[in-house]
């Protein structure tokens, strides 16, 4: 009676093992009387392109905590295309673990050392920056971008040049003596609220410089720090809370067929599309593209306007807050920005095509959804002349339909 059991087991195994085999081909297509749809790309150019204001965040924590901010901007620039701008920076610091006996030794020198990593404007500009001590507690979380923090008297002034990689502010001896116990105090965090770096209006075009604020750079020499020295040792206090108050001046004048927006202004691009010709079509992919005029960015002589390499797409419902969709990054074959991970955008647009989603409006902003992008004045010179489908912001929809 063993034979049936073995046969039964073998047959069962064969059923499970072989049931998934398949090798499809075109064999038999002639017997299938369905319409044969195929993937094809439909391009929807933006029906309207406008600017839109959004809540700007320029403050954050330098240690990587949320909200993260890894840069501060200081300077003053005049720009006939994108408009004038100025920025004042605020930096606070953390007390690190101190060497033994540090608090018993008198402080001999305190410097604020800033590492420059970014410039917008005249790269040859040189102008003074004034340093003051912040008075009163502040928090970078939820800080309105137009906040002016209270400060004390001017402590020192240092001239900053576009050729300098490091800017050093040396605190006056009197201030050092007055704050001798501050840097070794266990209440440093609550007693010290940081410094303000205020630009003095420059002659000529001027520039806005960006200084790294990240405390996570493994190379200590590339960190911006408050350096505190005694006769015996030196301790670097890493930056903790940072904030850039960016203000706009005289607006710029954009050429015809161009919509110019700049980061740090809280201004993005608002796009609307007409979906009537593609309603109820199955969608495989939706890609949003922003055609950019690279001639209105980059370096013009000594004047530099960094082109944005990252932007975010939000969908705005009829009511309620905009919802983050995806990021825009440079396209492989052109200077355009395009969505590179299109799944969420595709899902949302499919909902629109099926009449299930009320979204009709997209917003392009400069920040990413996690607010981890460094504050900047990067520009987006968006082409909007609409003379061809490629000279207008557009949605490229890969649909599957019989009528390609």
């Amino acid at each position: 009676m063993r034979v049936p059991a073995l046969v039964q087991a073998a047959a069962g195994l064969a059923l499970v093992a072989l049931s998934a085999c398949q090798d499809p081909s075109t064999v038999g297509l002639g017997l299938i009387d369905e319409d044969s749809p195929s993937p094809n790309v439909r391009v929807l150019t933006a029906a309207t392109v406008d600017t839109v204001k959004y809540d700007l965040v320029t403050s954050g924590l330098a240690d990587g905590s949320t909200p993260t901010q890894t840069r501060v901007l200081v300077g003053n620039v005049r720009d006939a295309l994108y408009g004038d701008a100025a920025s004042t920076a605020y930096v606070d610091a953390l007390r690190p673990t101190l060497p033994d006996g540090f608090d018993d030794r008198p402080i001999t020198r305190v410097t604020l050392e800033l590492r420059r990593e970014y410039v917008y404007g005249d790269t040859t500009a040189a102008f003074p920056i004034e340093l003051r001590q912040v008075q009163g507690a502040w928090s970078p979380t939820g800080l309105p971008p137009d906040t002016t923090l209270g400060t004390g008297d001017l402590l020192t002034t240092t001239t900053v040049s576009g050729t300098d990689s490091t800017v050093v502010f040396t605190l006056p001896a009197a201030w050092v003596a007055a704050n001798d116990s501050l840097f070794s105090s266990s209440s440093f965090s609550s007693s010290f609220e940081g410094f303000e770096l205020r630009p003095v209006v420059a002659a000529g075009a001027g520039a806005v410089f960006g200084f790294t604020a990240t405390a996570s750079n493994r190379i200590v020499s590339r960190r911006s720090v408050i350096r505190v020295a005694t006769a015996r040792d030196t301790v670097a206090f890493p930056l903790s809370e940072v904030f850039s108050r960016i203000t706009s001046g005289t607006p710029g004048l954009a050429p015809m067929g161009r919509r110019l927006v700049r980061a740090g202004s809280g201004t993005g691009i608002k796009l609307t599309f007409g979906f009537n010709d593609v309603l109820r079509l199955p969608l495989s992919q939706a890609v949003l593209r922003l055609p950019l005029d690279a001639s209105l960015a980059g370096t013009d002589g000594t004047f530099k306007r960094p082109l944005a390499r990252l932007a975010t797409v939000f969908a705005r419902p009829a009511t309620g807050a905009p919802q983050y969709l995806t990021n825009l990054r440079p396209a492989a074959s052109s200077a355009d920005l395009r969505t590179t991970v299109p799944a969420q955008l595709t899902q949302l647009v499919q909902g629109i095509l099926l009449g299930q989603a009320t979204f009709r409006q997209f917003e392009v902003r400069f920040t990413d959804v996690l607010q981890t992008a460094a504050v900047s004045l990067d520009v987006l010179p968006v082409i909007t002349d609409g003379s061809t489908p490629t000279t207008q912001p557009r949605l490229s929809l890969t649909v599957v339909s019989a009528d390609a």
Partner: protein, 439 residues
């Protein structure tokens, strides 16, 4: 006095559970994408006529094939032959190699299925029997694929447009068979037919940045049919222990009602692309007749013929090969003839060896399909066979069957399928009702 044997019922229930678990194997496999013949697109799917594992092995002959263990489902009149309570579950695995006139190479597919599950209860042994059964009425499981490439603004990506069919109609039957006198048997059953036939257009892309697009046209139908059967047996014709049976069964035309929907997406996450359409479909009459001859307990031979006029099929909902508003009707009358023989060397000798008590069966059938694409007749020819191995449990047998055949031709738009099928059926029989004498 008739008593209910709890111990036997429990043992029988355990065996049934094992059989149902076995039936679940291909069901699970079906969820893994399994495909069969592209001809299953036509009508409401490829027709299946599972009667019993015995009839499957003798060319599908079942209308007059009498047995006390096998409870053939084609002719309810024969359900009156039941002496013991029986349960059987059958599963199958089929491989198909398909070619056509325009494609280099072949398409290969493998599909598992549940052929049928049935429970037979003798209310009055050999006089009045009740049968409950589940079996597919039709099966849709084709797939064909068109490769292509899509040029986008950034690059070119390869895609495949898959035309697929899935689902089919199921059938649950219940009925009685009654023996009138020594020679005549009659029976009737009610058949609930239900199910969903789904035509899927699934577009897949080589590049992961594109979503798979799955459009589906699903036709959900249900209705009730009825089958009437009769059989007449003449005994002692050429010897003392032989019998010749003539059987006839008719399944009435059935009007199914239901809906058709066009959806986008998969499983529960589907969006409706078009409004649901209500409609109906009328299945044609099915007439079958057969002859069987049993010589003692060793030899049995049977032959069957079946006629199903699909030219009378009507549907307000378009289905494969039939779209009335568009003037499309590729359906034809289905005709099938099959037969075979069974040899049980041991006859009624229960003490013989295993091989002698094993039944050996061989058969063949020919069928003209219910479809005629472009007017071309599609013929199927197959050889069937298998063995039925007894088990230590009295009344239990394990049947292993095979079927090898060809369907169609690689000419014009037609496809030539070469298929091989294996089946496994567990049959159990128990005497539930024991008559005890009070001394």
């Amino acid at each position: 006095m008739t008593l209910f044997s709890t111990r036997r019922v429990l043992r029988f229930a355990g065996a049934c559970a094992a059989a149902v678990a076995l039936a679940g194997a291909p069901a699970r496999a079906q969820g893994l994408n399994n495909y069969g013949s592209v001809y299953s697109r036509y009508g409401l799917g490829e027709r299946t006529d599972f009667g019993s594992s015995q009839s499957e092995m003798v060319g599908g002959a079942q209308t007059a094939l009498r047995s006390t263990l096998y409870n053939g489902l084609a002719n309810p009149a024969l359900w009156s032959d039941q002496q013991i309570t029986t349960f059987s579950a059958a599963v199958g695995l089929q491989g198909i190699r398909s070619t056509d006139a325009t494609t280099d190479g072949a398409s290969r597919a493998t599909a598992g299925d549940v052929a049928g599950i049935q429970l037979g209860i003798p209310i009055l042994p050999t006089r009045l029997g009740l049968t409950l059964a589940y079996r597919p009425y039709s099966r849709v499981n084709y797939r064909a694929s068109i490769p292509g490439s899509l040029v986008t603004e950034d690059d070119t990506t390869a895609f495949a447009l898959n035309q697929e069919g899935a689902g089919g109609l199921q059938r649950i039957s219940g009925g009685l068979g009654l023996r009138l006198g020594q020679a005549v048997q009659i029976g009737a059953s009610a058949d609930v037919i239900f199910g969903t036939v789904e035509y899927v257009q699934r577009t897949t892309f080589e590049e992961g940045a594109f979503n798979e697009v799955r459009q589906s046209r699903s036709t959900r139908l249900s209705g009730i049919s009825g089958t009437l059967g009769a059989a007449v047996t003449a005994r002692s014709l050429a010897g003392d222990d032989d019998a010749l049976t003539l059987g006839l069964a008719v399944t009435l035309p059935t009007r199914l009602t239901g809906t058709q929907t066009l959806t986008l997406g998969e499983s529960l996450d589907r969006d409706t692309l078009a409004a649901e359409t209500e409609g109906s479909a009328t299945l044609p009459l099915l007439t079958r007749g057969g002859l069987s001859y049993r010589s003692g307990a060793r030899w049995t031979a049977a032959i069957d013929a079946l006629y199903e006029p699909w030219t009378s099929f009507e549907s307000t909902l378009p289905v494969g090969g039939y779209n009335e508003p568009a003037g499309l009707n590729d359906l034809r009358d289905r005709v099938r003839v099959g037969g075979g023989v069974e040899l049980l060397p041991a006859g009624r000798d229960r003490n013989a060896g295993l091989l002698a008590r094993t039944a050996y069966r061989l058969g063949a059938y020919g069928e003209r399909g219910l479809y005629a694409p472009d007017g071309s007749t599609v013929q199927t020819y197959a050889i069937t066979g298998g063995v039925s191995v007894p088990n230590r449990i009295s009344g239990a047998r394990i049947d292993l069957g095979f079927e090898v055949g060809t369907r169609g031709a690689a000419e014009g738009a037609l496809v030539r399928d070469v298929f091989a099928r294996g089946s496994l059926t567990l049959n159990f029989g128990e005497r539930w009702f024991i008559r005890r004498r009070i001394e």
